[in-house]
Symmetry: C2
Subunit: 358 residues, 2 copies
């Protein structure tokens, strides 16, 4: 475990670049004073922002890059002009070279994913990486994955997601054996698509160490905190996450309309302002900003592109936590145990039929 | 179009049976006085409830059935003991026989779907039925489908969903050419799974009559009212719907906690009570209760099993609207036009290559 957590920042990523990323890093540093930063991007712009944050300047190194990945480019385009030379690539490469423990970017998601895969490569025994997020629930937080790294999943990939998500949940939620649920259209065993049912059978029978399989979870179970880890493939996961965000925005709009109506409503709003502030902070998506790419040989954090410095600071802090708690080895250990177990199971279950055939 | 709209009710469906279904029918009748009812189920229980609703009793016929479908049975089990004799089957069969214009049940969804398919059969040129719901948005309401009738969909089924959903939207939203969006992980053309991209190509190129294809919609676009009709396959659709419902419940819980805190908050709540009532009614899922099975040779409405009489009345009213506006012919016409168009397109596009080959 590193003494200082070294964070490589793509300073140019996101809708606002250094004005948000540098200010966000400064906020994160206040809360995690043993962080060190590698700030990558246009040196003049970074130094201009840094002059407002002398404490951060002391704990940072600046690496110049003249190339910033545009937010709307396709991954293939981004790779063509940004490989090796862009601030995004250089942040990821710093992790690969061991110069940083984690990379954080608010840039183009597809490009970040593609560059991370090419530069860091996927972990042994993991086929495809995933993007995991923290989802606020009535019981606290849950890890939900995959929220958009890969479209579609077979049973074996869903089991990998369960393993990786539970490693993240052990770190974030501090539970030795987080509960894991498979997102499905019903909680009965007979329902759903074949891959999900097959993954359920594997998880149920293998009784993996480090996680407790808790069955199927329906969409409304996520926010109730039915399980610590919710597993689904990236298409459904991405749409589910954005639907929840959209519903929260929609209800916030209803609330504003309702409270802006009559004089009595306005007066009531003024009196209960503290309570509304509390509600607002609980509905604040900035507090859960920061998706974690799992399944790569290095930790990469994706921040929302449109977030402000408070939200970006949260993504940096999630990166800090993951590096500090050695996420990679947590995942590697669980994967190794799972495969050892699978190997034993295969050996055990392949014997009886052979004997029966003699 | 029928003079009176004749509604066949599975009086035994749902968690509470006749106490909710009969009371709900009475509420619906007040608002739609030209409804007539066929109440199917345990005659003694129905007549006992009817004695509280003399107006409904006047407009109803009671058909006895001694068999009620249990809420948790698999469709195959339900069919084994409930085919022909259960209140659910008899309600659907009344539509098939032309004795009713629409059937409404709050019973077991899987059984209702299976019985509807067997009894009514799917419409010509439609491969699989779908379940559509009304989704409250910042702009009003949108039709979202499939929310759970079939798992998975190829491009051609997604196009069928667009056609059927737009027919329902014409009736409910009163728009001649409703806008239709495909639910996806991004709004750019390059993103998403192959089936969705292929469906987008068909919808874009065919420029179907009766709907306006508006591109991809992300999860957060549904509640914003980005389009009138949101199309997705049943696995994602069901999870998305339940996630939105769960998020609304979660925020309502936060709101209750916040307003129950300090004295000032409680006082503010009292003053703004009217505004909170307004908010509550906008978040009331009962007002959108009633899923519509589309693609069958008859109209069947599925109510939430756990709803009360107000929610059940809404499902009955949706059934009334669908029958009154002749949903089936709306769909048939659009399907016929689409296939005619497809045929012409196939004829046109198959010529040039043949000429080129000469």
């Amino acid at each position: 475990m590193p003494q200082n957590v070294r964070i490589a920042l793509d300073a140019m990523g996101g809708d606002f670049g250094p004005s948000v990323t540098i200010a966000g890093a400064a906020i994160a540093l206040e809360r995690r004073p043993d962080s060190r930063f590698l700030l990558i991007g246009d040196e003049t712009a970074i130094r201009a922002e840094l002059s407002n944050h002398p404490r951060l300047a002391e704990r940072s190194e600046v690496h110049h890059s003249a190339v910033a990945i545009r937010m709307d480019d396709k991954p293939s385009q981004a790779l063509r002009y940004g490989r090796r030379v862009s601030s995004m690539w250089m942040a990821i490469e710093a992790v690969k070279k061991g110069e940083a423990d984690v990379a954080v970017s608010a840039g183009n998601t597809g490009a970040l994913m593609a560059m991370s895969k090419i530069c860091l490569r996927t972990m042994a025994r993991i086929d495809r990486p995933a993007l995991a997020c923290l989802w606020p629930t009535l019981r606290g937080q849950s890890v939900v994955l995959d929220v958009g790294a890969s479209m579609g999943a077979n049973a074996s990939h869903l089991v990998d997601l369960a393993i990786m998500g539970s490693a993240m949940a052990r770190i974030i939620l501090g539970r030795a054996r987080p509960t894991v649920g498979l997102l499905n259209v019903g909680t009965e065993e007979i329902k759903g698509v074949e891959e999900v049912k097959a993954a359920a059978a594997i998880l149920r029978e293998s009784n993996l160490p480090g996680l407790e399989y808790a069955g199927f979870v329906e969409g409304d179970g996520i926010g109730m905190g039915a399980v610590d880890v919710v597993v689904t493939e990236g298409f459904t996961g991405n749409i589910t996450l954005k639907t929840a965000e959209g519903t929260a925005k929609q209800i916030a709009a209803y609330l504003r309309q309702a409270m802006g109506g009559s004089l009595l409503a306005k007066l009531g709003y003024l009196l209960a302002r503290g309570a509304f502030q509390e509600l607002k902070s609980r509905m604040d998506t900035r507090s859960i900003n920061g998706g974690v790419f799992l399944g790569l040989e290095g930790v990469v954090i994706k921040s929302h592109g449109g977030t402000d410095s408070v939200g970006f600071a949260r993504a940096v802090e999630i990166g800090y936590e993951m590096a500090r708690s050695d996420l990679l080895n947590q995942i590697r250990d669980t994967v190794a145990l799972a495969h050892q177990f699978e190997g034993e199971r295969a050996a055990n279950t392949s014997n009886p039929p052979q004997e029966a055939a003699q």
